[in-house]
Symmetry: C2
Subunit: 250 residues, 2 copies
């Protein structure tokens, strides 16, 4: 049975999309069958997956009608994607009135779960009904955080929200906290890292993702870092993360 | 009559809070009477305003009951703040059912407008009912964008949303697009800058905010950059922005 993981943090710009896409791509490079799902109406993960089709169905369509097929092949053999677009914003309002509003995504993914080893879900920068759906559908969450002050402030809120989700999804756990955009030249980086490792111990991945310009360039070419520049430090670190992730979850 | 300005962009982590707080502080240093309003449930602008009171009323309280007073003095003589906390998340759901749901903030601010020269509003990383309230209440918007690919992708969406807000707030205009976290060493920075200046011309501020570690340190001390380190390049640039902003709006 495939494991479902949400990459989530309500703080904006901490590297959720970069982590969801590059972890999914790295796991698929290690020949795991991976499905990436874009549940952020900004559609950034979709634009990094370079789907060939001009018009495509989305996760929003699949949640509305289970018969619709929206799983697409990417340039990487073991990586498929379910895209999204701005229509997903309407789901935020529609889901609020739905009967089983927290479970809609979970029910959509139930029939896909055994076709993949891992399903990785990108989340919007919010703790709204979309991110709640992500967490209810997930076996675990990965929380990317920048080594900055606001990221630290927000960490306790996402962990509190996850604890309250445990009432409806008892199995959910934190697979890891990931330090991103790590800049060795900045003192604040070490202060935040020490704080986080002191409070959360083994929950924090040993692998740290450094600030690396190739990671910010790869989205303009619509591809994960491993296809854009496999020799870059960004590609090496996301591959290392995938290996550490496998050692923690298998 | 005071001008109301929303700092807004649904893309996360582009420098909305950093810009709202430091523009407000810089304008107040130029002896303009300024009110900063935190309309993001993360409460980052609130934590940068170091309010002395332990328990304080919030913008959420004021929107629910106009008799409630929630304007607080900051450490800067000409700068006041209306804080927020995570309760504002409930406003997202409650506002959806309200009669005049887009106008609630505008009605709350009508009686404050003539007490200040400028009212600056920080927004959440979303195009939801809170950011719609911000735009309906505003005379103009400032759009911070990082010089990165995803920021460019999101720019057309915020401009489209503003155009649709013009149906209910005909006066709203773009006061400026601000390039933030500008890093001269990165080629992508120039590519994005050229793209934005080519498309939007004079709408783009001449002043550019460079990546400056003092700007990321000041939030941990709960103060704007002008109080944390007035000699830093970050403080100089936000002061320059305030002067350019005044020359454009007065
Ligand atoms: N390690 C890194 N080094 C350099 N740039 C990075 C790194 N990680 C992410 N970026 C860039 O930083 C920006 C923010 O990252 P990203 O969009 O992945 O964050 P996010 O949390 O998904 O944002 P949002 O909250 O808007 O969804 C992007 O432009 C991305 O290309
Ligand atoms: N010019 C800059 N140089 C260095 N760091 C910066 C700069 N501007 C902002 N930062 C830092 O980058 C992070 C993101 O900035 P900020 O929180 O202001 O963005 P935001 O758009 O308000 O994020 P959100 O979408 O979560 O509301 C913060 O940790 C902030 O301290
Ligand atoms: Mg994202
Ligand atoms: Mg902010």
């Amino acid at each position: 049975m495939g494991k479902i993981i949400s990459v989530i943090n309500q703080k904006g710009g901490v590297g959720k999309t970069t982590t969801a896409v590059n972890l999914a791509a790295s796991l698929s490079a290690l020949e795991k069958k991976v499905l990436l799902i874009d549940m952020d109406p900004q559609g950034n993960a979709t634009s990094m997956s370079s789907i060939k089709e001009e018009n495509f169905n989305t996760i929003y369509d699949m949640m509305a009608d289970p018969k619709i097929q929206a799983v697409y092949q990417t340039k990487m053999p073991f990586l498929k994607v379910i895209p999204c677009n701005a229509d997903l914003t309407s789901a935020e309002i529609e889901l609020l009135d739905a009967e089983n509003r927290e479970f809609v995504l979970k029910e959509t993914l139930d029939r896909l779960k055994d076709k993949f080893d891992f399903i990785i879900i990108d989340s919007p920068p919010a703790l709204n009904i979309l991110s709640v759906n992500n967490m209810v559908a997930s076996d675990g969450i990965i929380i990317p955080i920048q080594c900055e002050y606001f990221a630290l402030e927000g960490l306790s809120r996402i962990i509190q929200t996850m604890k309250s989700i445990k009432n409806i999804n008892p199995d959910i756990e934190i697979y890891g906290i990931l330090l991103t955009m790590y800049d060795k030249r900045v003192k604040l980086t070490y202060e935040v890292e020490n704080d986080v490792r002191e409070h959360f111990g083994d929950l924090v991945f040993q692998t740290v993702i450094p600030r690396n310009v190739k990671l910010s360039e790869s989205p303009s070419f619509g591809m994960p870092i491993i296809l854009y520049d496999v020799s870059s430090i960004g590609a090496k670190k996301y591959l290392e993360l995938a290996e550490e992730f496998l050692s923690k979850t298998e």
